[in-house]
């Protein structure tokens, strides 16, 4: 049966504020899944807590709305149990860069084959607009009682330091390009992260749609090549790292979007397969039942007092 874009939409109407960037991200996500022809029942969306987390309920895939900060571990559990599934984790900036930041570093070191979207609007929306870890030092959106006295974390730089093999930035209101980025992230073998900039029309009166529109530009269209093949020379790699750093820290009058870094490294599933016989074919959620007693007996044999 031919899949239609409508097949990726659930019956539930979103309850986000009018003008929320989440609409654009949801739409781009559904478009990317549709374009890649991924069966909705073979895709699992995993979110944290907050406005962004509701996204999973509006897609007609499997959806897991987890705890604050925990979408990444849950998503990795799903993926490692059943590597045949397409797994997309998503988190708000507070979720992903604050309470869940430890998992961000952890997943980077593993490089599982999944996509991670950060819904970055610089505020905690659901709890009425507190400063998130991506809000600039000194910034004071209207919901804050005083200017922000903590510096911001740069998701791209942290992703790089943590070993992510695909690092990108999108913009929620450029749905077409965001859908393309998501498609590229899903096609990447290994861990892909997209930092998605989005206005929060209710609490962030600083970085609005009008503020972003003239600033965002596509680095790949401007000739930036993110690919870092495995056999690249050290000198060339160092040059790419310097170029990445320049682009990833560019912010203000011009805000770059696109793919910043794409490297090749064995996925976590491949690394596990080197030690676990048959994995991922023998993955715990897909292997047929049977053989359990024999596996326990195999362990016991190693404990026999006499051979």
């Amino acid at each position: 049966m031919e899949l239609k874009l409508a097949d990726y939409k659930s019956d539930l109407a979103p309850d986000w504020c009018p003008g929320c960037g989440d609409y654009g991200i949801l739409s781009a996500l559904q478009t990317a899944l549709y374009k890649l022809g991924i069966e909705p029942s073979r895709a699992v969306l995993v979110s944290g807590i907050g406005c962004s987390a509701k996204t999973v309920h509006y897609a007609a895939t499997y959806g897991i709305h987890t705890l604050h900060g925990r979408p990444l571990p849950v998503a990795q559990g799903v993926k490692l149990a059943n590597p045949e599934l397409t797994v997309i984790a998503m988190a708000g900036d507070g979720d992903g860069m604050g309470i869940g930041a430890g998992h961000f570093v952890g997943v980077g070191r593993r490089n599982p084959d999944l996509l991670y979207l950060i819904f970055n609007n610089e505020v905690y929306g659901m709890t009425k607009g507190q400063a998130s870890p991506t809000l600039e030092l000194g910034a004071q959106p209207k919901s804050l009682a005083r200017p922000n006295i903590q510096s911001k974390v740069n998701p791209l730089m942290l992703a790089f330091a943590s070993g992510f093999t695909f690092i990108a930035r999108g913009y929620a209101y450029d749905v077409k390009n965001l859908a393309r980025l998501i498609q590229q992230g899903l096609e990447h073998r290994g861990l892909a992260m997209i930092d998605v900039l989005q206005p929060c029309p209710t609490y962030n009166n600083l970085h609005t749609r009008e503020w972003f529109a003239p600033r965002v530009y596509d680095i790949n269209a401007a000739g930036y090549d993110p690919r870092v093949p495995r056999d690249m020379s050290d000198a060339e790699r160092a040059e790419r790292m310097a170029r990445f750093t320049l682009k990833a820290t560019e912010w203000g009058e011009r805000i770059p979007t696109g793919v910043f870094w794409q490297a090749e490294l064995p996925s976590f599933e491949e690394r596990l397969g080197e030690f676990l016989p048959g994995y991922p074919k023998t993955a715990p959620a897909t292997r047929p039942p049977g053989g359990e007693a024999e596996r326990a007996r195999a362990l016991m044999r190693g404990h026999r007092v006499a051979e």
Binding site: R42, Y62, L67, A81, L85, A285, E292, R297, H303, V305
Partner: protein
């Protein structure tokens, strides 16, 4: 003296002590394996500091003609590999027992023992008459009390013997543990062939090391004369017996029940289990070491949602971090087993010592009301069966199961008959036969609160899972009627679980006709049963703490004693809550050391004689 008849021993405890990291664990394994090969039932317990190298550590190996699950305070032979062992354990040798020690080490004053902490120094100094005592002088006192002193400088012996068999000085020094075991067994008159076989097996992967150690053992046997009257003989064949600890048994039980996924963050004493599985890929388990306990528990939940049988292990501090996710598993009806290896709390507490201080915590962990099961294992054998049962209960009732263990159980290694893996049937749970389109994963048409389940990713279907209250397909709801219906559906699982288990899995009794019943849970059963031999006492082992068994009729008109490893009597309070009965005597221990048979026996005798108060604290241990 060869013609003299030596009395055959029925029960024997060997203690080896030395600095951590010096390999005394290998020594204990060799001693245990040598005896196990001669048909003895052995158990070995391990006491150690939270330290990598240098602090005092010791192991007891008990060999008996019958299986044993507890240890005596007083040992038959103490092999002291250093002066600190001598200082700490002199008082724990039975009259008639043997002390093997280095006479040079004994000549040092107490103040020269670098790793002896201040509290121990003061205590030992006072016991030996005050000041800065020299251990050698104290030895005479013990000799007069019937301890047989065998001055044997093990380190020089290792050097000499090593040279005699052609090893260089450094290599020879590494055989110290073999020398200690060989010297002990030679003194006891136990045949060399069993140690020789144990050494060959121990160093099977390193043939040259094996050869050297076997030569060294043989040379030690040539040099050490057997004691006249300490006859330790082989008593039979080990048959199929295996030598395992609680961590291994727990892993094996889970594997037999189909374990497929385990995530972990390192913590003592819970990590031995995943570490063991990681080393054994034939277990078929995906083991992932992660960044923290939050990741560990949530990753296991994710794997379970996708259809893997998932479990994890942790200890108190780690479990504290997992409690939010435990409620997540409860609310989302996700099967999950957490083996909680209790250690001395609170906070970091006594990280390498035993306690049963997490019972109330396990029963109440997490915010809000949700169903969970809590069971506790009493022994290595129980642990295998309980781990499998925990996996099956989690799968069948779609809830988190906390499997309580403790450090004592985790690190006590015993010979047991092989576990009956064939008797474990992995329970597939209640699975929906066909699913298409949006699937009511949380259907209210649920017998015993259990909605038929399909894993996330099942082709052709779909549903949602949320940590919010939800409707039947998993969408968020705040509807008051749906809320009530979902709360009540989930709560129904506890009674359904109770029925599924039946009383025989929830508790067991020994001599329940006695007028006075001792109640315990977890690893106290072994020491309680051995300590009450010949006394007019009965024993009740409560295996499920939640749901709690119906003990009302059993306890009627009985005098009740509770024995447990925590200060406040957590089980005693639970007993009162569940049965309305307040125990007449509470016997507790919280110094982190395992209960000894002697001290529990004395406490029981005091109960029977009427001398015991309502609250007794046991304080033995080094």
């Amino acid at each position: 003296m060869g013609g003299m008849e030596r009395p055959a021993l029925d029960d024997f405890t060997w203690r080896v002590g030395g600095p951590q990291g010096s390999g005394i664990e290998t020594a204990a394994t060799l001693f245990a394996q040598a005896l196990a090969r001669g048909g003895w039932w052995v158990s070995a317990r391990r006491e150690y500091h939270s330290n990598i190298m240098g602090r005092h550590s010791y192991l007891d190996v008990r060999a008996s003609r019958r299986p044993t699950r507890a240890f005596f305070e007083r040992v038959n032979l103490l092999a002291a590999l250093d002066a600190e062992t001598l200082a700490r354990h002199l008082n724990e040798i039975q009259p008639g027992g043997v002390l093997v020690y280095d006479p040079d080490a004994a000549r040092r004053p107490l103040s020269k023992l670098a790793m002896l902490d201040g509290a121990a120094y003061k205590r030992i100094s006072a016991a030996l008459g005050g000041g800065d005592p020299v251990l050698e002088r104290a030895l005479e006192h013990y000799r007069a009390g019937g301890v047989r002193l065998v001055p044997l400088a093990l380190e020089p012996l290792a050097r000499e013997v090593g040279e005699a068999v052609g090893a260089d000085a450094l290599t020879a020094k590494k055989t110290l543990n073999t020398v200690a075991v060989a010297a002990s067994l030679a003194l006891l008159g136990y045949p060399l062939e069993f140690l020789d076989a144990a050494l060959a097996a121990q160093f099977a992967a390193k043939p040259r090391v094996a050869e050297l150690n076997r030569k060294v053992a043989a040379e030690v046997y040539r040099r050490v004369e057997p004691l006249a009257d300490a006859g330790l003989e082989p008593i039979g064949s080990p048959g199929e017996r295996i030598y395992v600890n609680g961590s291994h048994a727990s892993a094996m039980g889970k594997v037999a029940a189909g374990l497929g996924f385990m995530s972990y963050y390192p913590i003592t004493p819970a990590t031995d289990e995943p570490f063991y599985l990681e080393a054994h890929p034939e277990s078929g388990v995906v083991v992932v070491q992660v960044e923290d306990e939050l990741a560990a528990v949530n990753m296991a939940i994710g794997a379970s949602m996708a259809g893997a049988r998932a479990a994890l292990t942790t200890s108190g501090p780690g479990f504290a971090l997992m409690t939010e996710a435990l409620g997540f598993a409860g609310l989302t009806e996700t099967p999950l087993v957490v083996s909680l290896y209790q250690r001395g709390g609170p906070s970091t507490g006594l990280p390498t010592r035993t306690e049963q201080g997490d019972l109330r915590f396990a029963l109440g962990a997490g915010h809000g009301d949700y169903p969970r099961a809590v069971l506790a294992s009493a022994s290595v054998e129980d642990t295998f069966a309980d781990a499998a049962l925990a996996m099956n209960a989690a799968a069948r009732f779609q809830l988190p199961v906390v499997h309580l263990m403790d450090k004592y159980l985790a690190s006590t290694t015993r010979t047991v008959e092989p576990f009956d893996a064939g008797a474990v049937e992995p329970d597939p749970g209640v699975v929906a036969e066909a699913a298409e389109g949006v699937f009511p994963r949380f259907s209210l048409a649920a017998e015993g609160g259990v909605s038929p389940r399909i894993p996330v990713g099942t082709p052709g279907a779909g549903y949602w899972i949320t940590s919010d209250e939800h409707d039947e397909v998993g969408h968020i709801t705040e509807d008051p009627e749906l809320r009530d219906a979902m709360m009540e559906k989930r709560a129904a699982k506890i009674e359904a679980l109770r029925e599924w288990l039946g009383p025989e899995k929830m508790y067991r009794t020994h001599n329940p006709e006695a007028e006075t019943l001792v109640l315990g849970w977890g690893s106290t059963e072994g020491v309680a049963l051995e300590a009450m031999e010949g006394l007019d006492l009965g024993y009740v082992q409560v295996r499920f703490l939640l749901p709690f068994p119906d003990l009302g009729a059993l306890l009627e008109d009985k005098r009740l004693v509770v024995l447990e490893y925590n200060q406040s009597g957590q089980f005693a309070r639970l007993l009162t809550q569940e049965t309305g009965r307040k125990p007449d005597h509470l016997i507790v221990k919280y110094n982190g050391r395992p209960m000894t048979i002697e001290e529990v026996r004395a406490a029981f005798e005091a109960v029977l004689s009427g001398e015991a108060g309502a609250y007794t604290v046991l304080r033995a241990g080094v």
